[in-house]
Symmetry: C2
DNA sequence: CCGATTATTGAAACGGTTTTCATTAAAAGA
DNA sequence: TCTTTTAATGAAAACCGTTTCAATAATCGG
C-alpha cells in the first residue's frame, strides 16, 4: 500500500472517530468546544499508550491556554464514548490507548524491563463471559493483565549478574499478531 | 464442626502465618518489631478486603503511636511474604486480602452496587500461562477482573426507575464456591 | 551489658488522579 | 442580535499511595 493511501485511510478513520465523538456529545447533552476538538485531534494522532500528562504536554504545544484538568476530563469523555480505553501497567500511572477501530486486547508486562505486549485470546474472552453468567452477572467489561519475564530479560539474567532489576525503564509497546 | 474447634483451627493457622512472616523477615535480613507483630496480628483477625487506611484505624485502637506509613509498609511486606495480596476494584483504592491458606481467586465486581464475588477458573488460569509462554514470557503473576451487573441489580433496574447508579456504595464480599 | 551498626519508624513531602468552585462561554430562545 | 441558561474551563485543593529523611531502636560483636 502506498504511503498516500495510508494517510488517506487514517484521515477517514479520524473522521469517523470525530463523528462518534460529536454524536456522543449530542446524546449526552454536552457541548462542543475548541478544547475538546483539539484534544481529540492530538489524541488521534498518537498511537502510543499515553498518560493524561503526556497528552497535556502535546496539547500545550498547540494551545498553551488548555489546562491539565480539561485534558484529563476529555480523556474520560473519550473513554465513555468508546474512543479510548484506560490501561494500567502497575507503575501507578493511568495510560490511555485508542479503542475505536482497534481490536480489543489485553497486555503482558515484563516485570524486568517494563515491555508491554498486546494479545487477544478469544478462548479466554469467552470463558470470562461464561464465568460471569455462571454467577448471574451480565458482563460489561474486564481487565486482564499478565506479568512475567520477557525473552530478552531471561537471556540478560543468564549473561551479566548486575541485573538492572526494576528502575524507571521506559515502557515499550510491541505490536503483535492477535490470536492464541 | 464445633465452634471451639473452629477457633482452635484459626489459632493454628495464625501460628503458621506468623511463622512464615518471621521466616521471611529473617531471610531478608529484616528485623522483628512490636509494630509489625501488632499489624500482622490485626490483619489476621480481619477476613475482609481492607485498605491500608482501614487497617491503620484498627491498629490505632490498640496502639495509637503506630503511623500510617508503618501499616502501609507492613502490608507491602506481608504481600512479599505471600501472606497478603493487593486487589483493586476500580474505586482508586488498594485493598488487601489474605493470601496464605486462601485459594487464589479473581473477582467479579458489580458496576451498580459494588458487590464483589470471588471465583476461580482453572481453565482460564492455564490459558493465561499458555498465552504468556506463547509470547516467550515466563509468567509470574496476573490480575483478572470482570465487571458486570449482578442479579440483584438486574432486578432493581426492572422495578424502579430511579436507579441509584454508581454512588459510594459499600463493597460486599460474597463467598462463593470455587470452580468454573 | 555496652557501643556500633544499620534497619525501622513516623512526619512530612511528593506525585498522579480526582474534585471543588468561581469564572467563562456554548447553546437555545426571544 | 441580545439574553438567559447551564455546561465547560482552569486553578487550586483534596485525596491516596509512595518516598524521603532525621530520629529511634533492633541486632550483633566485644
Ligand atoms: Mn494496548
Ligand atoms: Mn478476594
Ligand atoms: Zn523484559
Ligand atoms: Zn449489584
Amino acid at each position: 500500500m502506498l504511503k498516500l493511501e495510508d494517510m488517506a485511510k487514517k484521515i477517514e478513520e479520524f473522521k469517523n472517530e470525530k463523528e462518534i465523538f460529536l454524536e456522543h456529545i449530542q446524546k449526552a447533552g454536552l457541548r462542543r468546544t475548541a478544547q475538546r476538538d483539539l484534544i481529540l485531534e492530538i489524541f488521534l494522532r498518537t498511537e502510543e499508550h499515553l498518560t493524561s500528562e503526556d497528552l497535556y504536554w502535546l496539547v500545550q504545544k498547540e494551545d498553551p491556554s488548555v489546562g491539565h484538568t480539561t485534558v484529563y476530563r476529555t480523556l474520560k469523555l473519550l473513554t465513555e464514548a468508546g474512543l479510548a480505553r484506560e490501561v494500567r501497567f502497575g507503575d501507578n500511572k493511568t495510560y490511555y490507548e485508542h479503542h475505536y477501530n482497534h481490536e480489543h486486547h489485553d497486555h503482558i508486562i515484563c516485570t524486568e524491563c517494563g515491555k508491554v505486549v498486546e494479545f487477544f485470546s478469544p478462548e479466554i474472552e469467552s470463558m470470562q463471559d461464561a464465568v460471569a453468567h455462571k454467577f448471574g452477572f451480565i458482563p460489561t467489561h474486564h481487565s486482564l493483565r499478565l506479568w512475567g519475564v520477557c525473552e530478552d530479560c531471561q537471556h540478560k539474567a543468564n549473561e551479566s549478574h548486575p541485573t538492572m532489576a526494576s528502575g524507571a525503564q521506559p515502557r515499550v509497546r510491541v505490536k503483535t499478531i492477535a490470536g492464541n
